[in-house]
């Protein structure tokens, strides 16, 4: 699915999961290669994101197909897979009566790290997520943002090859969300691949290089975000200089064979799909010939929301 040179961190082939004797389908014919780096797993609530995580962690057995994570077959070596994964659940999952330092080092030990190394790693990752001063306080007194950071720290403590983040920005205020996304965006630079499950496409668009779209247990689309957000052949032009500037420009563009649509008194969208980059010159010339003022000129892109809606509901 991707043209990535590095081996995929997750490879699913015909993956399926049904419940209740096959009457309920949680995942169906799911085939995808997820490359190393930052990957967004997007879909509405109940689309199958957490189910996919459970299958990746080996906590559920698929009823069809195969899945490999970090180069290991989940069916034959689930424990080996989990030893190289970090997981940050969406829901509250921290012992509230313990300090962040104790909790994170505990999960380091449970990942197989020696006690001393686990405590050192806990200190390091809590520094990394910005909880250096609060790490000896009980988690029960933490804000939502601090708890989310503690959850991220426990996922990172054993230096995983791949970390699964389930809605890491859920419940955060704008500032907390910014900080969390910034942190998540830096993980790939540390050599830790990330799969970010969310229904917030904007989060994915900001920090991920690839996206996997899932809807009602089926793969909708997967690929590099840049390729999905290709231009859609529309240029928005902002002009002024006279009250009927938009109408005058539309007429001038029509004479050059360019169709356009007025957006408001100063903006119009020009269809450039059949003209390519030459349309920029044509628009510039038309504005100059008509004696108008050109304020802005930009190509219009699709958003991930556009792609998701178009692909999921076509």
């Amino acid at each position: 699915m991707f043209a990535a040179p590095a081996p995929p961190v997750m490879r699913a082939a015909g993956l399926g999961l049904t419940y209740a004797g096959g009457h309920i389908t949680a995942l169906s014919d799911f085939t995808v290669d997820i490359p190393a780096g930052s990957v967004g797993l997007v879909g509405a609530n109940g689309a199958g994101k957490t189910t996919l995580f459970r299958l990746m962690l080996g906590l559920l057995r698929p009823t069809a197909g195969h899945i490999q994570v970090a180069g290991r077959d989940v069916a034959t070596d689930p424990v080996g897979v989990r030893s190289r994964l970090g997981y940050m659940p969406e829901h509250d999952c921290l012992p509230l009566d313990q300090s962040a330092s104790d909790v994170v080092s505990t999960f380091g030990e449970l990942a197989g790290l020696p006690t001393r190394a686990a405590r050192q790693r806990a200190s390091d990752v809590l520094d990394l997520v910005g909880l250096d001063e609060a790490r000896f306080r009980p988690i029960g007194g933490f804000s939502t943002g601090m708890r989310q950071r503690t959850k991220l720290a426990q996922a990172l403590v054993a230096d995983p090859a791949l970390v699964l983040l389930d809605e890491p920005t859920a419940g955060l205020d704008p500032m907390g969300r910014e900080e969390m996304l910034e942190l998540v965006g830096r993980l790939a630079g540390f050599g830790i691949s990330v799969i970010l499950a969310t229904h917030l496409l904007d989060d994915v668009q900001r920090v991920c290089e690839h996206v996997v779209m899932i809807d009602r247990g089926r793969l909708v689309r997967a690929g590099p975000i840049e390729a999905l957000l290709q231009t859609i052949g529309v240029m928005r032009v902002e002009v002024g200089g006279r009250d009927d500037a938009v109408a005058v420009l539309a007429q001038a563009l029509a004479a050059k064979g360019l169709a356009s649509t007025a957006v408001d008194a100063h903006h119009l969208d020009v269809d450039t799909s059949r003209h390519g980059d030459e349309a920029f010159d044509s628009v510039r010339d038309a504005v100059a010939d008509a004696g108008l003022r050109l304020y802005a000129l930009s190509t219009q892109h699709r958003s991930l929301d556009d792609v998701f809606i178009q692909e999921a509901y076509r």
Partner: protein, 301 residues
């Protein structure tokens, strides 16, 4: 440093160092979970309030040994009595106190219920652990602590008696070689039994208080029901005495110390009562383990 460095709660970039040291697997993770559970049960690295009850119960469990040794020491030079003072035997000391049961009712829910109530299980099972590993670590943790709390007072009693013995420490040791293996074996039998039941019942609820009450209630109710059956049989012995979950491990203890059931056991008048006791014991322990394995077969994320 991040762009938000001047604001409260900012994320600072201290860099990231990959871990290159040793990394264990299932065995290390299971041992870590056992160690953490023991630490939690004893209140270590927790506030003093969490330490009070377990350590108080240990102190209470040790009182009979201290009293016995103290009185023996005071009477050591009494010319009218030529025997060592002994108001409690090693056999009776195994499980004679309800302190251990209270202790299990206190700590088993404390190491089990919060994992489920605070939804920590998904994090635990995202580590290189399996359901059986989790069950093994938890049962082993409670077994370890109950064994320690049951065995330590026995050590106090034995060592104390040895040093206050009129015949001398060495003679006491040679005269009382039996308890050296009988005590640890029977305390272990009791510890496994209490741990399996305590952990299994605690796994069924999210609330510690419910778990504690369920453990005490089970022992209370079964012993009451069995007593009714024993009374109906005119105390001549009935196989239904095996339903008495409180005295069942003590019957097995009797087999270790005496090679037979003591007369105060409800199964003592029953043909093959010892075998019934062992079978009942195994059934309860294995049943509790089976329940736990089923309970932790699958975990919701």
């Amino acid at each position: 440093m991040s762009a938000q460095s001047g604001l409260a709660g900012a994320v600072y970039d201290r860099g990231y160092r990959p871990y290159v040291g040793p990394r264990g697997g299932r065995q290390e993770a299971t041992i870590a979970l056992w160690r953490l559970s023991v630490r939690r049960a004893l209140g270590l690295r927790r506030s003093w309030r969490q330490k009070v009850l377990p350590w108080s119960l240990l102190a209470i469990a040790t009182v009979p040994a201290v009293v016995n040794v103290g009185v023996a020491f005071a009477l050591k030079d009494n010319p009218l009595d030529f025997r060592d003072f002994e108001f409690i035997t090693y056999r009776e000391y195994v499980g004679v106190s309800t302190t251990l049961l209270l202790f299990v009712a206190l700590v088993a829910p404390d190491v089990m219920c919060p994992d489920r109530a605070q939804r920590v299980l998904p994090l635990i099972f995202s580590r290189p652990l399996t359901g059986p590993d989790y069950v093994l670590a938890k049962v082993a943790a409670i077994t370890t602590i109950v064994f320690g709390f049951g065995f330590l007072p026995q050590v106090v009693l034995y060592v104390g008696q040895m040093f206050v013995s009129r015949d001398g420490a060495l003679n006491y040791l040679t005269d009382h070689a039996g308890p050296l293996w009988q005590v640890p074996v029977s305390v272990l039998i009791l510890a496994v039994y209490y741990a399996a039941i305590g952990v299994a019942l605690s796994s069924l609820t999210d609330r510690r208080i419910v778990g504690g009450v369920a453990i005490l209630g089970l022992f209370l109710i079964t012993s009451t029901v069995a007593s009714i059956f024993e009374a109906a049989a005119d105390f001549h012995g009935t196989p239904l005495a095996v339903l008495n979950l409180l005295s069942l491990p003590l019957a097995v203890r009797d087999l270790v110390f005496l090679g037979r059931l003591s007369h105060d056991q409800g199964l003592s008048g029953v043909d093959g009562g010892g075998a019934v006791a062992v079978a009942g014991y195994l059934l309860v322990v294995l049943g509790a383990i089976a329940l736990l394995l089923r309970r932790y077969r699958e975990v919701d994320l």
